[in-house]
């Protein structure tokens, strides 16, 4: 699961959201690092719908614009859980390795080639 997909699913975990709300929520969750384009989000939503991880909840028209709300399905929630556990396990392993790193070792310059 890509980071974008993970963040989109996670953004839907607490409540249904429409496309633009998802874009802003994903940006907030990633501290502005992940900025979704409209076409990217559209394609991702299409994929997630097809896989049954999200579903269409309702449509609203606001200022003449259609806003389609999506919500996370049970399968989607399970997928987010699984991915979150995997990422946490990977992070734990990385921290463990860092703790084993010898202290006082000089940093390598030039990408380690010097």
């Amino acid at each position: 699961m890509s980071e974008q997909t993970f963040l989109i699913l996670a953004a839907l975990a607490d409540q249904p959201r429409h496309g633009y709300a998802l874009v802003t929520e994903v940006a907030a969750m990633s501290d502005g690092r992940v900025k979704l384009r409209a076409s990217t989000l559209y394609a991702a939503l299409d994929r997630l719908l097809a896989r049954g991880l999200i579903e269409h909840e309702r449509d609203e028209v606001d200022s003449g614009r259609l806003r389609r709300y999506y919500r996370l399905t049970d399968e989607g929630a399970a997928a987010v859980h699984k991915e979150a556990d995997r990422m946490a396990a990977s992070a734990d392993r990385a921290r463990e390795r860092l703790r084993l790193r010898p202290k006082g070792r000089p940093a390598l310059g030039n990408g380690g080639t010097a």
Binding site: G19, Y20, V23, A38, L41, Y42, R65, R67, R68
Partner: protein
């Protein structure tokens, strides 16, 4: 409606009709939400959207239909090429070094090939299969015939200098009838003949009106571009044509003439596989354009805005 909205509506119209009807307004709303306050559309968003449109259109073109299209260009190029040789041969015997010496059998052979192409354009696939199989068998049989201008005997134009060329030619003779047998079970879709007619006009214009200005460096490229365009529009017409439309046949012959002339005068036989691949690439491009053109014409839902 502000210019940004008008711009994005145009882009969303390029989505395949089914998808546009189902989710076009949603995408448009999202685009406008994200572009709030901008006086001009974002170039990055435009590029990403065009890429999305291209992928969706290609995905919606079913593999079988794409296969029919690709086979169409192969067959049309293969069989309309003789038009460029038969007509000058009949009108001006011995007009050029690449034309036959005027004997009857080759002309019959070419006309049978041409008939196969016309039959294909009309949707008579079984007839096409029969005719093409006959020409393929004849081609293989005459493959090693030696031309002797001095005593008037004729030769099939494909002469083979090595086993590789011979095998590639034989394969093309065998593969096309087999593919045709498959196609005979399907019917190509009908659609915008106008696209093909426009392409023909462009091809002829490029060919006739720019030639005096060509430098030797770009001559080959322009010839190729013209040929690809001509072949592609011939296949497009064949793919989308309504049956029994007389203007389609005229357009097909015109396109075949353009394509065939370029093909025959410029492509040595050893490039046979190369130009088949080029033709397929050209057809794939035209298929996409044709789909986009058709999608553009069926966009009332997005153009009118949400209810």
């Amino acid at each position: 409606m502000n210019p940004v909205e008008r711009y994005y509506r145009r882009l969303v119209r390029l989505l395949p009709p089914e998808e546009r009807a189902a989710r076009g307004e949603e995408l448009l709303g999202l685009l406008l939400d994200m572009e709030e306050g901008r006086a001009r559309p974002s170039p990055q968003e435009t590029a990403a959207l065009l890429w999305l449109v291209a992928r969706r259109n290609l995905r919606s073109a079913r593999a079988a239909r794409l296969g029919v299209s690709l086979l169409g260009v192969f067959l049309i190029v293969l069989a309309t090429e003789p038009v460029a040789t038969v007509i000058p041969t009949v009108l001006f015997r011995g007009a050029g070094p690449h034309f036959y010496s005027g004997s009857v059998p080759p002309a019959l052979f070419e006309l049978v090939s041409l008939s196969a192409a016309i039959a294909w354009a009309l949707g008579a696939y079984r007839t096409t299969l029969t005719l093409y199989t006959a020409t393929a068998a004849s081609s293989i049989w005459t493959a090693y015939t030696i031309h002797a201008p001095s005593n008037g005997t004729w030769i099939h134009r494909y002469t083979f200098g090595n086993p590789g060329e011979f095998v590639s030619y034989i394969l093309s003779c065998i593969v096309v009838p087999v593919a045709l047998a498959v196609v005979a079970r399907r019917k190509p879709a009908r659609g915008p003949v106008a696209v093909g007619l426009t392409c023909i006009a462009i091809a002829i214009a490029v060919q006739d009106f720019t030639e005096p200005f060509w430098s030797p460096d770009i001559r080959f490229l322009i010839f190729n571009a013209t040929w690809i365009l001509g072949a592609a529009c011939a296949a497009t017409i064949a793919l989308y044509a309504r049956r029994s439309a007389w203007f389609v046949l005229i357009a097909l012959v015109a396109a075949g003439f353009v394509a065939g002339t370029e093909l025959y005068t410029l492509m040595p036989t050893q490039f046979w596989l190369d130009f088949v691949v080029t033709a397929l690439a050209g057809k794939a491009a035209v298929l996409l354009v044709a789909r986009l053109a058709r999608a553009r014409r069926r966009t009332p839902a997005v153009a009118d805005g949400p209810a």
